[in-house]
Symmetry: C2
DNA sequence: GAAAGCTTGTGAATGCGTGCACAATCGCCC
DNA sequence: GGGCGATTGTGCACGCATTCACAAGCTTTC
């Protein structure tokens, strides 16, 4: 909407929050303008890429000077929809759900935790901060009370699809999924998945393929001794 | 090493853990073979992409039949280095650090939490599960005791670079960074960043650009009323 | 033992993202 | 008021990733 009419590439969307954070920092240190190169250094991005990214949302820079910090911050915030203070509902109040519930970074960046839900009756009514846990089935009612709720799933993998279905039925169209499950949802629903173990496994790959001479993998070439660590999802961060 | 001699593309590495998890599930349900299409359905990936990804690590399929679940699981696990039971050290025992410490998914997938560290003296010696929190400065000693430690940073953003420097100095070459800070490290160190607020902001973008008729952004075109939610990183998930 | 039916592995085409390089433009100074 | 240094915005070329399409190859059936 407004100026930037071209479609914004996904890769750019993923970096806009990075610039937003960098600009916030500059604002606090009273800088009024910033060059693409300075912003690039702060965010670990190539300077040309910064300029191209910003060009998708409009022409807010001044040649020979740079970008006005305050204005650019506002424009990016508007593009990202951070002016709206989106209500967030967290389903699954295990270790991770609790950590998310007390995460200052959410409320500090345009999000407001509207409710904590859990299907376990022994968890219902427990108090975290100024919110009490409510039964998962209250979801539809809560969504109806707010505009454009964003759903967060921090249940074990086994319950995730069920929760997602409930979210979709309640009218939620944006879901952040912390469970290892791969969710299937209608096309008009956006799901982002954050998988903690997966990230470690990717690191493991790099560690393994670095020259580091750590012990060779066990059972190389002989997979009779198949490693099969138990796969118990119940006593996890989710429950 | 061994068969797959070609370099494996990053995009493929990021998907291997997905296949690994899918295969684990198949193994539990006693399936002995699986086609690329079935695996694709389970993981939400295109079938041709599955085959190409797998072809990078070797030729383990049988035409007309599919892949042997047990063998493929072993091969992917070996490629990812999951046979090694990597020691993981978590620095920053706030809400998130605690959630990670009790995360069953880590120990269930080839990782073992070797130590919990925090710079705050009031946190030191607190017990979580069977581990006591130790001072951050013990890091070098702990790394020396183990092979190929993977570092996890769950401190507030302000302390992250300092912790990263300490990790690098201690010999750690793989870091998982949950803080919002952008770390600068030597080229031979791999850093992956998981930013919870960033994920929500990406969702916010999609929500905003969906046709949904939710209220237009406040202060459109007039950025005098700049949104400036307070940016207090101290009372967060990290502390 | 030949034919039919699957399924893999991969060549080739396409699309997306990245980064260089440079013209266009601005502010500043003399 | 003109020249100079700085910085943006973007055309273009390159490389990586995705997807299609199909030959190669295995198993089963008759």
């Amino acid at each position: 909407m407004s100026r930037g009419n071209r479609r914004i590439p996904d890769a750019t969307v993923a970096r806009l929050p990075l610039y937003h954070r960098g600009l916030l920092e500059l604002l606090r240190s009273k800088r009024t303008t910033v060059s693409s190169e300075a912003l690039a250094d702060m965010t670990g991005v190539n300077a040309a890429k910064v300029r191209k990214d910003l060009s998708y949302i409009g022409t807010y820079g001044t040649r020979g000077v740079g970008y006005d910090v305050e204005n650019l911050l506002h424009q990016i915030g508007r593009e990202l929809g951070l002016t709206q203070n989106w209500p967030v509902v967290i389903v699954g109040i295990g270790n991770l759900g609790r950590a998310l519930a007390s995460y200052g970074g959410f409320s500090a960046r345009g999000f407001r935790i509207a409710a904590l839900l859990d299907a376990d009756p022994t968890k219902v009514d427990q108090q975290f901060g100024d919110l009490a846990v409510r039964p998962t089935l209250d979801l539809a009612g809560i969504v109806a009370e707010h505009d454009s709720v964003i759903g967060v799933i921090s249940t074990p993998g086994g319950a995730a699809q069920e929760v997602a279905d409930l979210m979709v039925a309640s009218g939620i169209t944006s879901i952040l999924n912390f469970s290892p499950a791969v969710l299937s949802v209608p096309d008009d629903v956006t799901v982002r998945r954050v998988d903690l173990a997966l990230e470690l496994q990717i690191l493991s790959f790099h560690q393994q393929h670095r020259g580091n001479a750590a012990a060779e993998p066990i059972g190389d070439g002989d997979h009779a001794s198949l490693l099969l660590v138990e796969h118990n999802e119940s006593d996890s961060v989710y429950s």
